[in-house]
Amino acid sequence: MSTTWMIVLIVGAATVALKGLAPVLLGDRELPAPVARVNGALAPALLAALVAVQTVGDGASLTLDPRIAGVAAAVVALLLRAPLLVVLIASAGVAAAVNALA
């Protein structure tokens, strides 16, 4: 088997297992109240981490590049209550413009 297919197979199987682990083992039982509260706070914690890492992360280092300008444009668009599609296009457009100027 080629290395490519080995990676596709192993990563695919691992991801299926990681995603399915809790739903298969826990079933649909309700979580105890403190765990449910932590569960509800997972979304903001993980989303904020994704925003941070994908804005200034570059492998194992932090960097400032045109993505910052794109995300700043998204912040402005969100403050103006723009629809999501406008937010996304604004972020890509501004990042592309800064990338072209830099």
Partner: protein, 217 residues
């Protein structure tokens, strides 16, 4: 399910575009045409697929590519815990439904601290199609487009997650969890392997262990 599918339309546009950039990257990394498409259908997790392709392009070992991708996907254990109470049916069905949980489908299916199953599945299906179609376009037509950064596509994902995050900041605990998550991820990025900072950021949610103010005498 229809509501999840409708609300996810702008996100599907983003997934389509990032799918194209993944297809380009994977083809350039020597993964061929079929393997990246199969990977989009089965792994269905953008950051892990990007990371695996990047390691291959840099001439890294299979173990390095697999490790990077799996570390990035460890957060799906936490996401799995979050969706578990909302899924239905036997184990095989729950396993299948859980595959439609992605960062994006999970985020938009949040409904007062719980996951709305219908929205999760509707959004997940639309995203799977968009992501795979994007990948196909990328592997076949990508070389004509060039570097995704030229178009600012690399800024679109953090912008997307930011927009999803804004909808989650209803109460003080959520805001504190978000702040803690972002700080943990930023502090760990220079010192931990890629993927670890994101899963460690889940610890930011522990702030919610403290009971809400109304509940304390």
């Amino acid at each position: 399910m229809a509501a999840g599918a409708r609300d996810v339309a702008p996100i599907a546009f983003a997934a389509l575009v990032i799918g194209v950039s993944y297809g380009i990257l994977a083809r350039d990394a020597g993964m061929g045409v079929v393997a990246p498409i199969v990977m989009s259908l089965t792994t269905f997790a953008g950051s892990a697929q990007m990371a695996a392709a990047t390691v291959m392009q840099d001439g890294g070992a299979v173990a390095a590519a697999v490790t990077a991708a799996i570390l990035l996907n460890l957060r799906y254990v936490a996401i799995g815990v979050s969706v578990a109470p909302s899924l239905r049916g036997r184990r095989a069905r729950r396993l299948a439904e859980a595959q439609l949980a992605t960062d994006e489908s999970w985020a938009i299916s949040q409904d007062s601290g719980r996951v709305n199953r219908e929205r999760l599945l509707g959004a997940g299906l639309v995203l799977l199609v968009a992501w795979t179609v994007g990948t196909i376009a990328g592997v076949f037509g990508g070389s004509a487009l060039g570097d995704p950064a030229t178009y600012g596509f690399d800024a679109m994902f953090p912008a997307l997650f930011l927009a999803l995050l804004v909808g989650q900041l209803g109460d003080g605990r959520a805001r504190a969890a978000a702040l803690a998550g972002a700080l943990i991820a930023l502090i760990l990025t220079p010192v931990a392997p890629p993927g670890v900072p994101i899963i460690a950021a889940a610890a930011g949610a522990l702030i919610a262990l403290k009971p809400p103010k109304e509940a304390t005498p």
